[in-house]
Amino acid sequence: MEPVKKINLIQTKFEMSSQTGMTIRALRKLSLWALLLLSISGIFVSGTYYYMLIRRDQLTSTKQRLSDIIAQNPTKEGLLVSVQQRSALITKIFGVQKPVSKVFDTVDAFVSGSQMSVIALDDRNIVSLSIHAQSITEVISITDMLITQAAQNQVKAPQLVSLTLGKDGGVDLGLSFTAVF
């Protein structure tokens, strides 16, 4: 009797398409590369992190040591700061000091001492002069000289403030100008 041939219709082996197989191989490669990269980057980043931690500790310790040294020298620091502040202050004061004796040199250039009655300087650097001249000719000479001084920028804004002619022919003259220091 001839044995009966049986046909098994259930698939014993799962068939994959070649494309699926390629995808799986690619994915496997990708996963291995990803694992490799993760490991390398992990080691690198962790190393850098720990290096930074150690560096921070070193820097903090150095900072503390230096701070202690500075804290032990408050007198020196105080002296230096005081000297520097006062130097800056005195430099400013030198800048606001006016060589006021120069006003006399300027006035001497056009008025003789015997003609002078009053010289005044105010805090806006305006010089006021009261002069007694013997004649109009002297007045003209004085004003001409003052104008010349102004032209040479020795003085600024010269002004004739008053002029009084006396019975004896003498002239009382009021002049002002801004001094240039």
Binding site: T23, I24, L27, R28, L30, S31, L35, L38, S41, G42, V45, S46, Y49, M52, R56, L59, T60, T62, K63, L66, I69, I70, A71, Q72, P74, T75, K76, E77, G78, L79, L80, V81, S82, V83, Q84, Q85, R86, S87, A88, L89, I90, T91, K92, I93, V96, Q97, K98, P99, V100, S101, F104, S114, Q115, M116, S117, V118, I119, A120, L121, H132
Partner: protein, 249 residues
């Protein structure tokens, strides 16, 4: 049965996918935060490093200082601009100036003498703010020859302590022939003073050494005539014992 077979067939795929997921999670949960922390740490280190450089510089400046020389420099500066009104040095200097130039002094008045407020509580005027110092205005009456007066005005801005001539009014004496050489004058002047700072800044505050301009200024002041006796001699340096006020002389 079927599922088991399917799993067996796709085992490689599942493992690969699992590894990929682990890698992605590892990057997201491990590497990225660590990179951020490292970056923050790097910033922090840079900041501390800058501070350390500053402190090193400060220590180097402090170590290069000669404390006695600094005290001497400060005394010179204080003789030019004292820390308080110091009326004694003001009057002594004026006396010295009049004696030096030959003028006679008359009335003397201070216009801003007494203040009940402490120096730090006083409001500075615009002029004082401009100069950066307290100003003590005063007027003095003088008599003498014109050349003596000129000498006084010239010398008053070239001595320690520092003065500024604000105003003056010169009255020439009259004679039969005109004005004489004798004059009387009212001079409006300013003296300067400024309190010494009572506290130093934080440790992290930068410190620069004295510049050549500072040294030149001190040398210039030292060369200016001091018409009063120095107020205090140099105290011995403090050895180790810390002072409560670092600015105290």
């Amino acid at each position: 049965m079927q599922q088991q077979k399917l799993f067996r067939e796709y085992q490689g795929l599942i493992v690969s996918a699992g590894i990929l997921v682990v890698c992605v999670l590892g990057v997201l949960l491990g590497v990225v935060p660590l990179v951020r922390k490292t970056s923050d740490l790097n910033k922090e280190n840079r900041s501390i490093s800058a501070e350390v450089e500053l402190l090193k510089n400060k220590v180097s400046v402090l170590e290069s200082l000669d404390e006695n020389a600094m005290r001497s420099d400060l005394l010179i500066l204080l003789s030019a601009v004292p820390s308080d009104k110091s009326l004694s040095t003001l009057l002594d200097t004026l006396d010295g100036l009049t004696a030096k130039t030959g003028v006679s002094s008359g009335d003397f008045s201070l216009s801003k003498l007494g203040s009940l407020a402490t120096e730090s509580a006083q409001r500075l005027s615009a002029d004082e703010k401009g100069v950066g110092s307290n100003i003590l205005p005063f007027t003095i009456n003088l008599t003498g020859r014109v050349d003596q007066l000129r000498g006084f005005l010239a010398a008053s801005v070239s001595v320690r302590r520092l003065f500024r001539v604000r105003t003056f009014q010169v009255q020439f004496a009259k004679t039969a022939t005109g004005s004489s050489d004798m004059v009387s004058v009212v001079v409006g002047m300013d003296a300067f003073y400024s309190p010494i700072p009572s506290a130093i800044g934080p440790v992290s505050q930068p410190l620069t050494p004295l510049t050549s301009a500072d040294s030149d200024l001190i040398a210039k002041l030292e060369g200016m005539q001091l018409l009063v006796a120095p107020s205090s001699s140099l105290p011995p340096p403090s050895a180790g014992a810390e002072k409560t006020d670092p600015f105290s002389l």
